[in-house]
Amino acid sequence: MIRAGTAAVTASTGAPERRTSAIVRFFSKENRYLPPLFITLILVAGQAKFGLLESFSRTALAIATSMVLDLVFARLVIGKWPNLASAYITGISVGILIRSPAFWPYALCSALAITSKYVIRWRGRHLFNPSNLAISAMLILIPEYVAALSIQWGNDVWPLIIVWILGAFITWRVRRFHITLTYLISFIGFSALRSVIVGDSFLAEVAPITGPMYQLFIFFMITDPRTTVKSMRGQCLVAFLVAAMEMILRLAGYINAPFYALTIVGPIALAIDIWRRSRSVSSVPVAAGAA
């Protein structure tokens, strides 16, 4: 889920070769380990400062489950060993974004996420954002045992600012910030509309997006390159549609509206994009997308 950059990394084959410093290389968009590293830093800092996780061991279980299954399934399906950065991010996303006092939901959620990548595929690509699908499934099927991100990072402004700086930097480096921005503007606009419709104050309606945990969704989940459409205009449109769907779900009282909205809109948009591209550029090979 928090997978920005893992596939947005495209080889700069046409660029002239030049010597770059290690720091520049480290912060380049070619470094696919940059997003996982930043997410890990956010996780560790959040745990140290706020104790946002139930425990490190639960998150470790989610990560381990995710990586082991990705290794096994990649061998079975693709026939080669995968780069585990993607599985690591799926695991850590599950570790951050679901909340359960028990251990097994973390393993189950990671297993669902990774398995979905290899089962629900069309024309060589998985359609659902794996972690998003798994979390939505958990929240619908076994809400007694699982909750999603909400208030675990408190209500202070500083974590919000830190996540914004890190998130904006990463999404800007991987050329996805326009998605975040579109979603943000759409959410605020829809908040005003909801306020008019339901009669609650605008501040109450816009409140969710001011919580730091919500930032993880807008920076790292809806920007997932594997499960977003190709064109910049299309990406902005999809972000807008996710926000629109979220508004509808919020009006219907769905607490976990952002997850469900992305689960509904994301695969439909991606399927249309794949279909349109296959019609117009029939000769272009399609990536396996199992990383």
Binding site: V77, E144, L160, D200, A207, T210
Partner: protein
């Protein structure tokens, strides 16, 4: 570009089956559990007695108790969320105020002008409200705030238990005049003029033989909830709030006066406290103080020789993950001879699954730096609901402490929930959440309402089984305060429950025959007369269980001071070791079972 390798059909089918299995397994398991629970809920009293060893019969009306709690009505600026901000106040405590040997019940009320009730136990299974006669009824007069709880302790060691009534408003201390009347002594005692408290307890923190007093604030003490100057009075965070009420520690000077020493002794906190319990968690001889806070982490104040308190929640492991602490109770869950601490929190399906905490000391941790593990999940006492009061008690006299948990927050319109709006505001920035004006109107909706209670019976081997429906606890009122007492002096612990905007319930306990018990009524001489803080260890049939006389525990409640031990089928006790707060140790060898023992501290 990756080379696409088409997996074999077998692999594809296998993966699909695995995926479907992952989705289906928890659903199937859940359905199986529900079917099992549904079948068990139809169990008869006879079957429950046979299987679980006890049955609880709600019998308040038959016992002459017809008390219905009335909730506070606060400033009109809060009217859109009144049932939410005024969702506490129902509380109950147990005392033998007239020393007739029968435990009585004090229930508080919270509407301005409403009356508290003191139900005197007539010794024949019935009670009579004597609060107006003894001067403990009209304590919620307009302008003085409303009661949120009461704790009993003999602060002047005259043999009769006095009462502190804590409030959202002016706290009141009443002196017990020989069990016949109560005299208001608030001003002489030096208590503050106004606070907004939801917890208090008596304990002798320096073991000087005089009971001291702790009071924990919830709303800040500078707020008059009936005359608000601002609506910015809500917590500034759902999990890290630090704008709640201050804490008070009153040292008993021995002349009917108290000195406030919290800051001097190291207690500085503005977390939103809802529960506190004092117990010697480390075997130092001095009671430590455990505070469960709403909107934040719990705090553990280690008592350093009665001279100072040191907050060690984080290093002890109990003060790291912020939750919504609403009860604090101690019990020796595994008969290990040491106290475990139970803290209730919120669990709401798919929204907020905090889980309750069962903090058990790690074995072998040094006295100075005790560390706890949360064993609630392992032991099966984690998911309660919106849990408030909880108490340990051996309800079936099998020799292991069971657990009763009251659930349910706001029960209004059954079909409409406030949870969506609650979660919307709870995650917002502190400038938004802390202003009540930003909170969406409750509009008659429920918030975790109509919840079943939890009665978990302890198998003594690390697992609890939930049996509430089977043993007769079927009410769905908004449970708050739970207290335990043997009201009929027959060796069975009854349960009294105060419900917000609901009736005071008395669950009379029937225990299956053939199970033995022993009880101890302690009286301090060098120690405080109520013997609060005294520890009793009972050794029988290879078991050792530790209990203490408590000056307040759970949520706004206090159990009887008498200690009750179930013994199972054992018909004898090897010995009983008593450690009095003064440090005096006393041993009783082979005391008779199935009896109440009155024990006076040796001089």
């Amino acid at each position: 570009m990756e080379q696409v390798v088409r997996p074999s059909r077998t692999v594809q089918i296998g993966l699909a089956i695995f995926f479907i299995g992952l989705l289906a397994a928890p659903v199937v398991y859940k359905r199986h559990q529900r079917a099992e629970a549904s079948a068990s809920a139809k169990m008869s009293k006879t079957q429950a007695l046979s299987r679980y060893g006890f049955y609880l019969q709600e019998s308040s009306k038959a016992s002459g108790i017809e008390f219905v709690h009335q909730a506070p009505t606060l400033d009109v600026k809060l009217s859109h969320i009144m049932n939410l901000v005024a969702s506490m106040g129902a509380a109950v405590s147990v005392v033998d105020f007239d020393r007739d040997g029968w435990e009585d019940i004090y229930a508080v009320n919270s509407k301005p002008g409403s009356r508290n009730a003191l139900y005197r136990n007539l010794g024949n299974g019935t009670f009579r409200d004597v609060a107006p006669e003894v001067g403990l009824a009209d304590v919620n007069l307009p302008g003085t705030g409303v009661s949120t709880g009461a704790v009993w302790g003999d602060y002047d060691n005259d043999g009769y238990e006095d009462v502190l009534i804590y409030k959202w408003g002016k706290p009141e201390l009443y002196h017990n005049d020989g069990g016949k009347h109560f005299t208001r002594v608030t001003e002489q005692a030096g208590l503050p003029g106004w606070l907004n408290a939801n917890t208090a307890l008596w304990f002798d923190y320096d073991n000087d033989g005089k009971l001291d007093l702790f009071i924990g604030g919830y709303y800040p003490e500078y707020l008059d909830l009936w005359h608000l100057k601002t609506t910015k009075m809500m917590p500034n965070s759902f999990e890290y709030a630090d704008n709640g009420g201050r804490k008070y520690l009153f040292h008993n000077l021995g002349n009917g006066r108290f000195e406030e020493v919290s800051a001097k002794l190291g207690i500085n906190s503005r977390r939103w406290s809802l529960a506190a319990v004092a117990a010697d968690l480390r075997g130092t001889g001095y009671p430590d103080l455990f505070i469960a806070n709403d909107y934040g982490v719990s705090e553990l104040y280690l008592n350093e020789g009665g001279k100072r308190f040191r907050e060690a929640g984080k290093e002890a492991g109990v003060g790291f993950s912020p939750k919504s602490g609403m009860t604090a109770s101690v019990g020796d869950v595994l008969n290990r001879g040491q106290f475990d601490v139970y803290v209730s929190n919120i669990s709401e399906e798919g929204v907020l699954v905090q889980g309750n905490n069962l903090w058990m000391p790690k074995s072998g941790t040094p006295t100075k730096t005790i560390r706890f593990d949360n064993m609630a999940n392992t032991f099966g006492v984690e998911l309660g609901g919106w849990s408030f009061g909880a108490q340990f008690a051996d309800l079936n006299n099998d020799g292991f402490l069971d657990l009763y948990v009251a659930n349910g927050n706001v029960s209004l319109d059954k079909g409409r929930s406030y949870w969506y709006d609650y979660s919307k505001i709870a995650g917002g920035n502190q400038a938004i959440i802390s202003d009540a004006a930003n909170w969406p109107p409750l509009d008659g909706r429920s918030l975790s309402g109509y919840q079943h209670k939890r009665v978990w019976i302890n198998d003594g081997e690390g697992r609890f089984q939930e049996v509430a429906q089977m043993v007769g606890v079927k009410d769905v009122y908004d449970g708050r305060s739970v207290a335990m007492a043997d009201f009929e002096n027959r060796g069975a612990l009854d349960v009294v429950v105060a419900n917000q905007r609901g009736p005071l319930l008395l669950y009379k306990n029937t225990v299956a025959p053939g199970r033995h018990w022993i009880e101890f009524q302690l009286q301090g001489q060098r120690s405080n007369r109520s013997a609060i803080g005294a520890e009793v260890r009972v050794f029988w049939a290879g078991q050792e269980q530790l209990q203490q006389v408590s000056g307040g525990s759970g949520f706004c409640s206090q159990n009887e001071r008498r200690l009750h031990f179930g013994l199972g089928k054992a018909s004898s006790v090897d010995r009983v070791e008593i450690r009095w707060p003064s440090g005096t140790k006393q041993t009783l060898v082979n005391p008779a079972v199935d009896e109440i023992h009155n024990v006076r501290e040796p001089l």
